[in-house]
Symmetry: C2
Subunit: 557 residues, 2 copies
């Protein structure tokens, strides 16, 4: 008898979401959850929540949901959605929150790929649910939320009222002992560069992601969250599991607010009434809350905003800081569940650095959180120097990286090549381990063997007084393979003045001549457009732009 090669965990000792669930029950029974429905704002406690999670598990069980079955949702940020975040994975089944912003074609693709057995839909999406339930044969039942009247059938399959089910299935549910490797959640990438790609994450991935995000936030910087903070869940629960925040906050025992469908006034009222101390979201959300005509009537001082999804414009960050809002940047991908980095300047820097130096660090993409092994590498997988200048691709390893693209071995092989997950994001690396993203995904321009950052170029062009919106894409080029092309929506009165010469003169004067930008980066062509199409996540949809303008340099030659 000698030391075994593997320490075998006993059943029930594995890292599953049940640990978070039991912790809520044992340590935080009295902590409050506020939620908004069509009927108003209500409150219940963690102990009520955990009981209802058992009730709905009883109901799902009676409707035939068993281990590894997938349950899809079409829902806002509701307490019902939150209840399903626990009940479905704790049963051993898989929750699949569906992005309601996808196009009809993409939605059908997603449901067909996932083969969901049940659809839970908010009443607001009943029409959409009709179509899906009638077309997707795997769906055997539909549950409807937030309504008084549920039809007997939706899209030809039996339909049920969530609250009726709860009433009919009171009582305890003995959640099974699961392996930590059991899939818990399924999601799809937002598909800016093709059809959405399916990913899935185990219990272990979800729990460790929540622990690591919480730990980094609570210990690393000077801005910290703790068990006494109050969160409003603003990140859509159909976007990468609301960035894992429902689990992070449950683990910490924080008071939570589920605000339902986005509405500026409702959200501002909830922040005030429920004494919210922080929320996360994309820059657009913050922009809307700050520019609402009534916004100034609300005291937003000391609120913390965790920015993700895309880089926060400096002007917006400044607007927020004037209101006393602290902004912290996060970065991640659907494949990575999502958090990889958070841009909190380390607490030890305070007192040693001046405000300007700290501010610059704050605008970086951030520091990897615990259990994220992140490297910035060249095309040969060698680490680039940590000099803040040399651009490389971000590759990662972490226990919460999806193991593959579901049913897509070809794309899987490419993205997970050489033992690392390739984010497709280009960044520079600093000596203290922080990174700054220079470009995202296929936005990248590789021209004559050199990287050009379309993000930086957009940033520079947007400073021209006549530019309202700008997107820079890589256009195909016979000699240089790719060259940058700028698509610009001009401000009123500038329509006739914006052209390639005007923009490039501006860039030369303000950036090239100052040594900030290589002359090589100047757009090959500027095209005035009426609008820039957006993807489902509010970013410029470069796929569409490339389809439209990607060959403009070739055609013109």
């Amino acid at each position: 008898m000698s030391m075994p090669e593997k320490v075998l965990e006993r059943p029930g000792y594995d890292v599953t979401l049940k640990y978070i669930y039991d912790r809520m029950n044992n340590l935080f029974p009295d902590v409050e959850i506020a939620y908004k429905t069509n009927k108003g704002v209500f409150h219940y406690k963690y102990s009520d929540f955990t009981y209802r999670v058992q009730n709905i598990a009883n109901a799902l069980n009676s409707l035939g949901i068993s281990q590894l079955d997938k349950v899809a949702t079409l829902d806002w940020n509701t307490h019902w959605h939150y209840e399903l975040y626990f009940s479905v994975p704790l049963m051993g089944s898989v929750l699949h929150p569906v992005n309601i912003r996808l196009s009809p074609n993409e939605l059908l693709y997603v449901f067909n790929t996932a083969e969901d057995k049940m659809l839970v839909t908010h009443a607001d999406f009943l029409q959409l649910a009709e179509v899906i339930a009638s077309k997707i044969k795997s769906i055997k039942s539909v549950i409807v939320l937030d309504t008084d009247s549920v039809p007997q059938k939706v899209g030809g399959v039996p339909a049920y009222h969530y609250e009726d089910l709860i009433k009919e299935h009171k009582g305890k549910y003995e959640f099974p002992i699961l392996s930590e490797d059991r899939p818990a959640f399924m999601g799809f990438t937002s598909g800016t560069t093709g059809m959405p790609k399916g990913v899935y994450h185990s219990h272990k991935a979800m729990v460790l992601h929540a622990m690591s995000s919480a730990l980094h936030f609570a210990s690393f910087g000077q801005t910290r969250i703790s068990s006494s903070d109050v969160i409003m869940h603003v990140v859509p629960m159909y976007h990468v599991y609301s960035w894992g925040l429902p689990f992070t906050t449950s683990l910490l025992g924080q008071k939570q607010v589920y605000p339902g469908r986005f509405n500026t006034k409702v959200y501002l009222d909830l922040i005030k009434a429920e004494k919210v101390t922080y929320f996360a979201g994309v820059p657009t959300i913050l922009y809307m809350l700050l520019t609402d005509p009534d916004s100034d009537k609300y005291d937003l001082n000391n609120l913390l905003f965790i920015n993700g999804g895309s880089a926060i414009p400096e002007g917006l960050a400044y607007l927020a800081s004037k209101r006393g809002i602290k902004v912290v940047v996060g970065y991640g991908l659907t494949e990575t569940a999502p958090v990889l980095t958070l841009a909190l300047p380390p607490a030890r820097y305070y007192g040693k650095m001046n405000d300007n130096e700290l501010f610059k660090i704050q605008l970086r993409t951030g520091y990897p959180i615990p259990l994220v092994d992140l490297r910035v590498v060249d095309t040969n997988m060698n680490e680039v120097p940590k000099d803040g200048k040399t651009i490389g691709e971000i590759v990662v390893r972490s226990p919460w990286v999806s193991p593959e693209y579901y049913k897509d071995p070809e794309k899987t092989e490419k993205a997970w090549a050489n033992g690392w997950f390739h984010t497709g994001d280009l960044a520079v690396w600093y000596e203290d381990g922080s990174i700054l993203i220079m470009d995202r995904d296929k936005d990248v321009i590789k021209s004559g063997g050199e990287w050009i950052s379309s993000l930086r170029l957009e940033d520079a062009i947007s400073q021209h007084p006549g530019v309202s919106l700008v997107a820079v894409i890589a256009a195909k080029h016979e000699k240089w393979v790719e060259r940058p092309v700028a698509l610009i929506v001009p401000k009123k009165g500038w329509e006739d003045k914006i052209n390639t010469e005007e923009i490039n003169n501006f860039l030369i004067q303000n950036f090239v001549n100052k040594g900030i930008m290589s002359k090589w980066w100047l757009p090959e062509k500027v095209i005035v457009v009426n609008e820039i199409p957006l993807s489902s996540t509010g970013k410029a949809n470069k796929r569409i732009l490339r389809e439209q303008f990607g060959e403009v340099l070739i055609k013109n030659q």
Copy 2:
């Protein structure tokens, strides 16, 4: 192709100590480590540390240490010990820090059971190492620390100088990709109730334990630790891996102090010179630092002390608070790596409870940290009511519980019965999930089917003005199975006055008549003794006391 039953982690994505090591290297290269040797106090940086970890791995490799081999240590809290905490597990081997306070017989038992291949010893233990190396045939080489002269052989096997090895083996070491289930550490229980029992912990266990302790501390209460704190490692590194603190602090990137052999003056000087903000230890250590004749010359204001190993006496807690030291209680066992609970009143209680209520919570055994499923159960494994009164046994599940007692299937079966690890500790459970230990292990007295808390009884008896030291044990009893017997060391002048009648009258008047204590708890017999033997961890050695006095009631009948 459908959803797999298990999400298969890719190689390198598993939770191993390498994540902490790489994090130190990438995020905290400039953070300082101070260490004391026989030659003085020195400093180096995390980047120096990680490089030396590779150097010594090269050396161990060249000395024949390979995967799953065990490396034993006899060492104080030195930076060398810390280097081995990483290099040995990262190589895929197992570190086995040996408790230098064990008796010679116990030491031989421990080495024989572990079958260590190498022994690393501080020069202070060279004589002991001679004996061990000569008797334990598995040991093939010895490395000696903190000396200028290393003999060619120790106990007949080749001996090496640690610093010479480092010099001779400069250069990188490619640590292998390991499974998270790979054993990383081996330890032995302190053996107060029999021979020490071997336990072992995987990479995953060590990392999750560090993350969870740090997260709970950083987020749960009002007293928080962060990346800018400075730790002095006081908990012996041969006691349950120094309670995991070397990993917790490395993960957080805190400045660390390795103070070497315990010496009150040296430790106080280091606290001052290195600006230490917290340390952990048993109450005795705190007592010695506070009662040193020079102690008052040191400013200890705002220091945090994490108390473990045994309950902190109220008088000592008061003494500490007068010096401005905050005390937080922790609880755990060798089997559990060790932390299970921390007694931080939840931050949300502040402002809602008064100081007295908060103080009472602070003196409890604490709240389970994340990923610890802790229950207080009766003998039928039913949870006892959370009423703060009903006593039950603490049972736990957690990813960092050892899977077994090494080479001891019989004791394993008993301790891990019914799917839970049985701590043998008796506690009450409160509505907010906190617990308070009433008795430990075999100290418990079960008399006529009822539990009697020897801890509480000792506490009551110690308040008699003539009592210097007291230990209560369970003595065998024909009718009631067990009855309490009190062993008392009287204060000077009280030798002739302490007896069963005197003590029981005192207890009746002050406790029984006031309803604080059942009359059933009164000691069956009081015995005056000259001294109370202590175990290797400074607790009353009840095993010896039971051997000596356990049958005193039977013999007397």
